[in-house]
Subunit: 392 residues, 2 copies
């Protein structure tokens, strides 16, 4: 697998960090998840639990090993110091000063493992006035400007449904780690890298941000309409709605052909995108009068045949029943001994030669403590002693 023989010490919890390390684990890295005794990662108790297992936890922690460790005790820190030299990567999503306070700042990490790759996933970055503030997906969505662009034209700014700042930060974290590992292969040097929820969301502001930079004008929320393209959006059909997104003149003419509205090609009000955008209500009325005559299925088949991007708004049951999503194996069933078979999200990256795979289900809390500690030289007696003392 692509990341075989890469060993990751994973001090993260909740979503952003565990998503990052799950991406690495799916690509073959050995990820050792370090959890507090008794409770473990709080996500173990969140979302829908079946037969005592949170499917939310199972999804984001598949392919990982779990050890318990009391990082507040000196004995726990000693174990950590013995594990780090055996790892290629340390990932954590503490606030920026916590690793230093725990005694594992950049210098110490480098002393323990000179070419370590350290990845911090945090709320606001490792410097600046908000560096020590607590962060949360919703807050990053609000403060990044993302919410100001999300929502209906006459409605309030809206948070995106899924926790996309956590997920995007986790994704940037995985990119940062693999890139730093690539540099290490070539130079022998490690690196310390930081990604934040806020910066990740700002990086998604896209053309809206650069158009604002260029014009000084704030982009409006546009709901399902496009800020600069027309026609575009949801069109009612005989039995529902279809999303149609012709991005330029070529696609616009294809829409007219698919809808048998060839006569509009000569209409002076709709000759250019600028004119169509100015007259977007009128062109929408004309197109929708036609789409209302047939079913969504009819139009999706026909528009696709003409090469026009289109589709239905699907609910989750429809998504996972969809033949394309099934072909792409975006839902996978993973046997969890003692908890039945658990359905979770599949792999969005498809390598031809070295594909992602499930090698193990999400771990029981501390399920690999003995294995991992004996591999770094702790005897069975020492392990038993640490367990009695509450260190592991």
């Amino acid at each position: 697998m692509p990341l075989s023989n890469i060993r990751v010490l994973d001090l993260t919890r909740i979503i952003s960090g565990p998503f990052c390390s799950a991406l690495l684990a799916d690509m073959g890295a050995e990820v050792i998840k370090v959890e507090p005794r008794e409770t473990g990662d709080p996500v173990r108790m969140q979302g829908e639990l079946k037969e005592g297992l949170s499917w939310y936890f199972a999804n984001y922690n598949r392919n990982k090993k779990s050890i318990t460790l009391d990082l507040y005790s000196q004995a726990g820190k000693d174990v950590l110091a013995r594990l780090i030299p055996t790892c290629d990567v340390v990932i954590e999503n503490f606030r920026p000063d916590i690793m230093e306070k725990m005694g594992f700042g950049p210098e110490r990490l480098k002393q323990l493992k000179p070419d370590i790759v350290h990845c911090s996933i945090n709320g606001f970055g490792t410097s600046g006035p908000y560096r020590d503030r607590p962060a949360f997906d919703f807050i990053a969505q609000a403060m990044s400007g993302f919410m100001s662009l999300n929502g209906e034209a006459d409605g309030p700014p809206l948070r995106a449904g899924p926790p996309i700042s956590d997920l995007t930060a986790g994704l940037y974290g995985a990119l940062a780690v693999t890139t730093a590992l690539l540099r290490r292969e070539r130079t022998g040097e490690g690196d310390s890298v930081s990604v934040s929820l806020l910066n990740s969301m700002v990086s998604l502001l896209s053309f809206q941000a650069v158009n604002y930079f260029a014009s000084g004008k704030l982009p409006p929320r546009t709901g399902n309409d496009h800020g600069i393209a027309s026609p575009y959006g949801m069109f009612r059909t005989r039995d529902g709605q279809v999303a149609i997104a012709p991005s330029n003149d070529t696609f616009y003419f294809k829409v007219l052909d698919a809808l048998d509205l060839q006569h509009l090609k000569e209409h002076p009000d709709f000759a250019t995108n600028a004119l169509r955008f100015r007259n977007r209500e009128a062109i929408k009325i004309l197109l929708e009068a036609r789409t209302l005559q047939e079913t969504s299925e009819y139009w999706i088949e026909r528009l696709n045949r003409w090469g026009v991007p289109c589709g239905s708004v699907l609910s989750l049951d429809q998504v996972f029943d969809d033949p394309q999503v099934q072909d792409q194996e975006m839902a996978i069933d993973v046997p969890h001994p003692g908890h039945g078979t658990i359905r979770m999200l599949g792999f969005p990256i498809k390598f031809a030669q070295a594909p992602c795979a499930i090698q193990r289900p999400a771990p029981e809390l501390g399920g690999h403590t003995d294995e991992v500690l004996s591999a770094v030289g702790y005897s069975a007696d020492e392990i038993a002693h640490m367990r009695d003392a509450g260190t592991i």
Copy 2:
């Protein structure tokens, strides 16, 4: 820089692919953008243009070189075949069958460069019933189920404001490329990898998808409220609103302390998150009655002091004036000879040792054709001939 000496042949256009290659270029890869003569990437003419330059194009094509090439002509294909052996990576966002039709399927690529890393960024994947359909951000948002989770509880499913399926696919593409390069470093083997807009969006469905898998119940849209946590959301203040996101009991008690509502700690209706969620209207009324008494600034300072994640919904002008966003350099000013200084988005990944940097502004169309072609052995005469013939 992390990707120094990595050479990328970039056949992509619009957003998803150019965002992917911009991420690689920002980390030091040499990216050669291949564009059609005369028009180039359509984004050159999209968004706000100043002094003849699209800032949207400038943002997503910084750090790249540009060559023009007619990929429909045999002469153009001959040039491509001569360039590929000099590159480590080929990225394209054509529909899945186009590279094969052009004569550059997986076998040919491997013949030209045995350890090539080929990345396809596409709409729906390289197999399945929709593989040849045209794709577009809006359609992937609709068909992935993302829109079914985005929007107000009593409103329609909504597209996210920014083109997040393009951006997420680009980000997965960059992760796929660096991971395949890392494997190549260790095994000597290349790989062919595919990421799609649809799969990328499905991968963001997060706890909503796994809770659906576990329960069979479709998650509702919840606007700015949380599907399982309470209190949570926007709270009115004397002069605006504040987003407050206490994710568990500990944070909930901190909110009560920060708001001087200690007496609610004993209230039987709000003792657990389950109870607070059932009584979420009541707890919101009680908290908001207090937040209405002071300004947003007051509460943000005070709640953060108590360790509660909170913040304002910022518009883009406020975002880029914010001291944290400025500290993190998430807007950067890049001199473009002939076009003034252009403001664009900064780097979300912060490497300590080998940071991302701007090495060159976005290229003029074909600005590096002569340089790149002479480096692979074309003489000045041959280049002039190809230019006359319309190949470059």
